[in-house]
Symmetry: C2
Subunit: 656 residues, 2 copies
C-alpha cells in the first residue's frame, strides 16, 4: 500500500470514529491542553431571546442574499470557469475564493440543529463546482491560473493561497460536523496532502502571509487525528524566516514568518494577528508547549491593557488595517474591522477553553455584543467593514453596505452568527460551564455521559435576571460554573430560592457544587446600572470624556432620534459618576427591534462651537452655550439602522 | 534680431535698472496689488537681541557645516560629474539639486549688509560648477541624465524638475540682489527660456508636481519685468488638467494641476500647499485678479480655523506629509515639517504685503518663534524635520539630526534666518510699518525718499516693552504703523512720553500719524502675562488640556529639567484660568541660551497611570495620585537641546 493511500485511509478511519452530528465549533474531545470541552451547536436552541432573531435573520435573509451577491459578482463562477462549466473571466480580488468558503461555512453551521434543505442542496452543488476545479495534484485556487500559474507559492506574503485553503478546510469541517458529509473536507485534505509532499522543513519553505491556515490545520488534526497536520501548523507558526528573507515590516504586518512564541506585542494587521493568536492557542492546547501559553498571555495583556476598543474592536489604523501604538485608540479614525472583532472573539474563545478563565469570556462577550453585532444591520443585509466609535453624518454614509469588493466581513459575520449557539456552554470533568446568557435550551450531557437539560429564561442583556432550570436525567453531584461578568457590581445567585454560600466575584466563574436534581432552579441577578466609563489618560481622544455602558452593551449617542437642537458631536454631559442618578432606563419595544434606551436626566448643554476659534483662552468657568435638552443613548450595535447619522461613543463630560 | 536674443537684452536692461544692493526678499517696487513695499535685508541690523545670535550662529556655524555635509554626500558633485570635472556616481534623491540651491540662497542672503568673502568665493565656485553642468539648451537637472534622460518631463507629478528650477532662480535672484552678480541668475533664466520655447498653452503641457516655481517665476518677473515669466506662473497656477490626465488624488496631494482659484480647502502635502498659496499670492499682487484674493482668503480661513497647530506648524499626517481633516491636529503624531512652517510664514508674509493686515503678521510671528525656530538647534547644527507637540523620550531620539537624506529643511531654515532682517519692516505711501519686534536698527527711507533711521531697544519676546527712536532726516508727516499682537490683552503706546490718542487694538496695526522729528521716542508695552489656551472641542486630543503661551512663545513641558517624580506626559495642572496667578515668570540667563521659564505655582499631581486599566469607572472626584511638585515650562523652540526627553505642549488640566 502506498503511504499516501494509507494515510487517507487512516484519516477516514479517524473521521468515522469522530462521527457525524457532533457539530462542535472546536473538537476538544481529545485535546490534552483544554480545560473545557465544547458543546455542539445543535445542542443549544436559542428561543425568543436577544440572539434568536439575529440567528434567524442570518439564516433566512443574510445567507441567501449574500449568496446571490457572490454569484452576481462571479465569485462562484471563478471555480466553474476552471472546470470548463462556464466561460467567463476570473472576477474579484486574489483572495476571494475564501469569501465563498466562508459563506459555505455559514451555510454549514446553519444545518446544525435542524437543517435547511435548500441551503444544503446549494452547498452540495457548490462543492461539486469547487472540487471540479481542483487539480489532480490537490492544488485549488482560482487566482493562480493561466499567466499567474507560474507565480504559485512565489508570492506568499500577499498571495493568500494558504488563507483560502484554511477557509476551505473550515467550511469542509463544519459541513462534515453538521451533516456527516465529508466531500468538501476531502477536497481540502487533498490540498493539504499536496502541501505535505512538497513543503516544510527540508522541502520548500511555506509562509502564512495571512494567518488562518494554523487554526484550520489544528482543527483538521482534531477531526482526523493525523498528527502531520498539527506538525504543519507548528511549522507555519514557527515561521521559516531564514529561508524566506522577510523584512521586519512584513513580519510585523503579517504576524507570521518568525516564531510566534517570540512575539511580544500585538502589531501589524489586526485580523492577521488575531487569527495567528487563535491558531497559536489551538496549537498550545494540543501540544501543551508552555512557550505558547506564555506568549499568548503576554499578547493578551498587551491587547487588553492598551490596544482594544471599549467595544471589543481592534485595529486603530486604516493604514495596514493595523494595530496602533499603545493607547492609540482614535474614534473617528478607528479601523475596527468586523473581521478583527471576530478574530478577537475567536482568540478569546480558545483561551477560555484552555484555561476556564472568565476574563476571556468577558472580552468575547464585549466583542460579540458590540463591535461584532454592529457589523450586520438589523435587517441582515447591510454590513460594516469598519465599526468606528465616532462618525460625522457625511462619514456615516459609507459605513453600512450590502457588498464590498473585499467582502471578507459579511460571510465572517454570517458564519459566526450561524454557529452562535455553540458558544454558550462548556463541559469539563467537574460539570457544566455557562459562558453566555440568553433565552435558550440545552440538551447535552455531562462529562460522565449523564444527559443534561438546561432551560434558560431571561431578558438579558436588557434585564439582569437569569432563571435556569438544570435537569440531569438523574440526580448527580457536579459543579455548575456560572460566569459573573466583570461589569456586574453586585450579583446574587440562588438555587431553589436559597442564596448560594459562595460569594459571586466579578470576572470569575462562580462554582456551585452540589447534587443537582432534575428541575433544580438557579437564579442569577446581575446589576444592570448604567455605567460611566473613563479611559486611560494615554488614550488621548477620550480625555474629559466618558463612554456609557449597561450590562454587556456599550451605548452610543446617535444623532438620529435626538431632540431638535442637540448636536451629538458637540454635547457635554453633566455627570455625577453615578449612572443610576444620571440616566433613566427605558425599555422601548418598538425602537430598533426592541431596545433599552438610556436617557440622560441631568442638565447639559450642547456647546455651540460654530463660532469658536481654533484656539481660545482657557476658562474653567466657561459658560455652556446652547440649551439644556435630553440626550438619548442607544446600544452601539444598533448604529446606522435608521439611515446616515452622526454618532459618538465617547461623550465630553462637564464634570460636576 | 532674433526674438530670444532681444528678450534676453530686454531682461538685462530691466536688471540693470533694478540695480544691485537692493536686497529685498520680495521686490514689490512696481507691484500694483501690494499695499506695502519691502525693506532690504541689508537695511536692518539685528543687534544684541533675540534673533541676532540665531542669525550669527546660522552664518557662522549652520551654513558652513551644512555645506560640508552637502559636499560629503556628493550633492555638489552631482553637477561636477556632468561637466566631467569629477567621475563619481550620482548621489541623493531626485530633488536634491534643490538642497544645494537652497543652501546657496542662504549664502546669498548672508551677503546682505556686510559680506562674508569666503562664503562668496564658495558661492561663485559652486555657480561655476552648476553652470558647467547646464546643457546648451538651458536644461539643468542632475537626476534626469543618462538612462533617465528620456524620462525628462514625463514624470512631472514626482520629478521635481520645476521645483529644482524654482530654487535655482531664488538663489540666483537673492545673490543678484545682495551682490549684483547675475551669473547664477542668468543660468536660471536660460532654463526658463528653454521652458518657454517648448511648454505652455499650444505647446507641451507643464505641471508643478511640487509647487515652488510659481513664486520663483513671479520674482523673476519682478526682477526682469519680463511678463512672459509672470504668464508662465499664471499658466502653472491654472493647471493644464485636461491634457495631463491627473487623478483627483494627485491634484489634492500636489496642490497643483487644476485652477488654484477653484481651491476651497487646504489639503494634500502641506509644503506643496503652502508654496502654491505663496506663489498664488505673488501672482495675485501682480495681476490683481480678484479670484486669487478670494481663493487665498478662503484657504487662509480654512487653515487658521481648523488646520494649524498652535505653534504655527501645519501638516497633521505623516502619510503624504499632509493636512488632515478639519480639527485633525494630533500632537505626538503631528508631522509639522519645518518646511511647512516656513511655507506658512512665506504665504502669510505675502498676504501681509498685499493687505497690510496684522492677522497675517500674527501667523508669521507664531510660526517664526515656535514651529520654525524649533527646527534648528541652539547650536545651529541639528535640525528637525518634524516638530511634534508631544514626544516620548524614545520617540524624541530621532527628532534632531545633523543630516537627512531628504535634507530640504536644513537649508530652508538657513535661508530664512539669513534673510530674517528683511521681515521686520515695511513701507507704504503713508509711512513705515513695524511688523516684528527685536533689538535692531533700520536705515532706510520713506516712500517719498526721505532717509529714515529707526533704533529699536527691547528685550522682546522676554519682556513686553519696546522702545524705538524714529529719526527721519528732517521732520516729516507720516504714519507709523505699529503691529499690536493678537495675544496682547493690554497694550500702551506713547510718543515722547505721552500716550497716543488712538486705542491700540489687538491683531491690528495701530496707525500713529504725526509730524515725526529726528529722535522722536516711541514706547510700546505689551501685556506678557502667561496665557492658558484651550483648543476647539473638535481638536480631540486637546480636550481637557491647555497649552501655555507667553507673548509670541508657546511653552512646552519638557521632562529634562523637571524635579524628580514628575512625569510630563502624565501630569495634571490645577489651573484657575488666570496665568498671572498660576505661573511664576523667571528670567534664567544661563538656561538654554537665556530664556524666561514659567513655573506652575499651584498644587498639582503627576497621575500615576502605571497601574490604571485601559477602561475604568468614571469618578468626577477621582483622587489625584502622585505628589505635588513644581512644573517648569520652557519655550517650545528650545525643545530637545539638552538631549532626548519626553515633552508635551497640551497638558491635562484638573480645572479648579
Amino acid at each position: 500500500m502506498k503511504p499516501l493511500a494509507w494515510l487517507c485511509l487512516a484519516s477516514s478511519f479517524a473521521l468515522a470514529q469522530a462521527g457525524p452530528e457532533r457539530s462542535v465549533i472546536l473538537d476538544l474531545s481529545s485535546t490534552p491542553g483544554a480545560k473545557l470541552r465544547t458543546v455542539p451547536v445543535s445542542a443549544v436552541t436559542l428561543k425568543g431571546g436577544f440572539w434568536e432573531s439575529r440567528r434567524r435573520t442570518n439564516v433566512e435573509r443574510s445567507i441567501p442574499t449574500l449568496l446571490q451577491l457572490l454569484e452576481e459578482h462571479g465569485i462562484a463562477d471563478n471555480f466553474r470557469r476552471l472546470s470548463g462549466a462556464k466561460s467567463v473571466p476570473r472576477k474579484g480580488p486574489l483572495f476571494t475564493d475564501s469569501d465563498l468558503y466562508k459563506w459555505m461555512e455559514a451555510a454549514a453551521w446553519a444545518q446544525a440543529g435542524g437543517g435547511h434543505p435548500e441551503l444544503r442542496r446549494t452547498f452540495d452543488a457548490l462543492t461539486r463546482d469547487i472540487l471540479a476545479a481542483q487539480e489532480p495534484s490537490g492544488y485549488l485556487n482560482t487566482w493562480f491560473q493561466e499567466d499567474r500559474k507560474s507565480r504559485r507559492w512565489s508570492e506568499m506574503v500577499t498571495g493568500h493561497e494558504l488563507y483560502c485553503l484554511g477557509h476551505l478546510l473550515q467550511a469542509g469541517i463544519a459541513y462534515y460536523r453538521t451533516t456527516g458529509d465529508r466531500t468538501l473536507l476531502d477536497g481540502g485534505i487533498r490540498f493539504v496532502e499536496y502541501l505535505l509532499r512538497d513543503f516544510g522543513p527540508g522541502k520548500r519553505p511555506l509562509l502564512a502571509g495571512h494567518p488562518e491556515i494554523e487554526m484550520a490545520l489544528v482543527e483538521l488534526y482534531r477531526t482526523t487525528h493525523d498528527r502531520r497536520y498539527l506538525a504543519l501548523a507548528g511549522y507555519i507558526l514557527t515561521g521559516d524566516g531564514e529561508r524566506l528573507h522577510l523584512t521586519p515590516g512584513q513580519i510585523a504586518y503579517m504576524f507570521s514568518g518568525r516564531p510566534f512564541i517570540d512575539r511580544t506585542i500585538m502589531e501589524g494587521h489586526a485580523v492577521r494577528a488575531g487569527y495567528a493568536a487563535s491558531g497559536a492557542a489551538d496549537y498550545w492546547m494540543e501540544t501543551r508547549e508552555e512557550a505558547y501559553g506564555t506568549a499568548l498571555e503576554r499578547l493578551w495583556r498587551d491587547l487588553t491593557r492598551s490596544k482594544m476598543y471599549i467595544t471589543g474592536g481592534t485595529g486603530s489604523r486604516s493604514a495596514g488595517e493595523a494595530f496602533g501604538d499603545p493607547y492609540e485608540l482614535p474614534n473617528a479614525k478607528a479601523y475596527t474591522e468586523s473581521c478583527a472583532a471576530i478574530a478577537n472573539l475567536m482568540w478569546n474563545w480558545r483561551m477560555l477553553q484552555a484555561t476556564g478563565e472568565a476574563r476571556f469570556t468577558g472580552v468575547m462577550e464585549t466583542a460579540l455584543y458590540n463591535s461584532i453585532n454592529s457589523g450586520m444591520s438589523l435587517s441582515g443585509t447591510m454590513y460594516c467593514y469598519r465599526n468606528p466609535l465616532e462618525l460625522t453624518r457625511e462619514a456615516s454614509q459609507s459605513i453600512r453596505n450590502p457588498w464590498y469588493t473585499t467582502t471578507c466581513c459579511p460571510p465572517n459575520l454570517e458564519r459566526l452568527f450561524a454557529s452562535l449557539p455553540g458558544y454558550f456552554y462548556g463541559v469539563s470533568g467537574e460539570g457544566l460551564w455557562v459562558h453566555l446568557y440568553d433565552r435558550n435550551t440545552l440538551a447535552w450531557k455531562l462529562g460522565d455521559g449523564t444527559p443534561l437539560a438546561v432551560q434558560m429564561e431571561t431578558k438579558y442583556p436588557w434585564e439582569g435576571q437569569v432563571d435556569m432550570t438544570v435537569s440531569p436525567r438523574q440526580a448527580r453531584e457536579f459543579t455548575l460554573f456560572l460566569r459573573i461578568p466583570a461589569w456586574s457590581d453586585a450579583t446574587t445567585v440562588s438555587v431553589n430560592g436559597a442564596r448560594v454560600a459562595a460569594r459571586p466575584e466579578a470576572d470569575r466563574y462562580l462554582a456551585v457544587k452540589r447534587t443537582w436534581k432534575p428541575g433544580d432552579r438557579v437564579r442569577l441577578v446581575f446589576s444592570m446600572t448604567p455605567q460611566e466609563i473613563a479611559a486611560h489618560p494615554r488614550a488621548l481622544e477620550n480625555q474629559g470624556r466618558v463612554a456609557v455602558r449597561r450590562g454587556p452593551l456599550v451605548y452610543v449617542l446617535e444623532q438620529e432620534g435626538q431632540a431638535e437642537g442637540v448636536n451629538v458631536l458637540e454635547s457635554k454631559l453633566l455627570l455625577t459618576g453615578d449612572g443610576a442618578r444620571d440616566f433613566a432606563v427605558k425599555w422601548e419595544p418598538d425602537l430598533l427591534g426592541g431596545i433599552v434606551t438610556l436617557r440622560h436626566k441631568g442638565a447639559h448643554g450642547a456647546l455651540d462651537t460654530g463660532g469658536l476659534p481654533l484656539y481660545r483662552r482657557y476658562n474653567p468657568r466657561e459658560p455652556r452655550a446652547g440649551s439644556p435638552a435630553g440626550l438619548v443613548f442607544t446600544p452601539y450595535y444598533t448604529f446606522l439602522n435608521r439611515g446616515p447619522s452622526a454618532l459618538q461613543v465617547w461623550v465630553e463630560t462637564a464634570g460636576q
